[in-house]
């Protein structure tokens, strides 16, 4: 058999297994270091804390099973979020979510104009003026976004992913990311104006 070269000597096989185990442990540790950042994005993609915890656990279970498909040196946070958004989409299909209506959004200055109308034009110069919007209102307005728009806004504005990373995570063209992001932000500002400014 030795002339075929197909059988690894025992010691070499042992070393190979040990190397792979070390790589796996390193992968797992790196992934766990990102857990808080992954959770923060997940939390705003679903309605409840419990759902977010479950989604992150499912994501890590899958990531740990298929760790060899991760290319070392690439963006692991984006890789994890790709798994997470896929799982979330599957889950959404199972729940038979009603299709989102395409809302008509206001212009980009809409919210600033509303704030200026109620607080005065000079108020826009002060950073604290945004605190007129309640933090709970921000969370509610995000949750009320149609989910295609929300996912992009959450990835870029909360997760601070680039357009390119967001495109890869959601498996859509970069132009789609940009248009959903721009429209999603406008819808968000419209909701903030309606829900938290009285």
């Amino acid at each position: 058999m030795s002339e075929s070269g197909a059988v690894e000597p025992e010691a070499e096989a042992g070393r190979r297994i040990a190397t792979e185990a070390r790589e796996r442990v390193r992968f797992e540790e790196e992934a766990l270091e990102l857990a808080d950042q992954v959770y923060r994005v997940a939390r705003r993609m679903v309605s409840t804390r419990e759902e977010a915890e479950e989604l992150v656990q499912d994501t890590y279970a899958r990531a740990f099973r298929s760790w060899t498909s991760f290319t070392p040196g690439t963006n692991m946070r984006a890789w994890l979020l790709r798994i997470l958004t896929n799982l979330n989409t599957d889950r959404g299909r199972k729940l038979q979510r009603t299709p989102d209506l395409q809302p008509l959004e206001e212009s980009d200055y809409y919210l600033a104009n509303k704030v200026a109308a109620s607080e005065g034009e000079q108020a826009l110069d002060q950073e604290r003026v945004v605190e007129r919007l309640s933090q709970g209102g921000v969370v509610d307005a995000l949750a009320a976004l149609p989910h295609d728009f929300r996912d992009v806004v959450v990835l870029v504005d909360l997760g601070e992913f680039s357009y390119a990373d967001a495109a890869q995570i959601l498996d859509v063209p970069i132009g789609t990311v940009m248009s959903r992001l721009h429209r999603g932000r406008r819808i968000l500002k419209q909701k903030l104006a309606e829900e938290t400014l009285t």
Binding site: I17, A18, A21, R22, R24, V25, E28, L32, A35, D36, Y39, R40, R43, R44, R49, E53, V56, Q57, Y60, A61, F64, S107, D108, Y109, L111, A112, N113, V115, A116, E121, L124, D125, E127, V129, V130, E131, L133, Q135, V138, V139, L142, V154, D157, L158, E160, Y163, M178, L181, H182, R185, L188, K189
Partner: protein
């Protein structure tokens, strides 16, 4: 200068791309040239910048205690001698 000024309308169109640093050099020059002259738009750009930060802070929720331990339990079997 008001929202109905065509220069302001153009500046409003450039707002998101400007804050995302996703404009062409020509567009940056147009936006910045207008912002230098226009309090109305400059205030709205500044508001948007503050708003973005506020949204990020308001919507960010830390991972619950205990989740990290649950995730660690999902790891593969620990090989001996590592």
């Amino acid at each position: 200068m008001t929202a109905h000024d065509p220069d302001c309308e153009k500046c409003e169109e450039l707002l998101q791309g400007y804050l995302d640093r996703d404009l062409t050099q020509t567009e940056v020059v147009i936006a910045e040239g207008h912002l230098d002259r226009c309090d109305y738009c400059r205030r709205r750009y500044r508001f948007e910048e503050h708003l973005r930060r506020y949204i990020r802070v308001s919507a960010s929720e830390r991972m619950p205690a205990g989740l990290l331990a649950k995730l660690s339990e999902l790891r593969g079997p620990t090989a001996d001698g590592l």
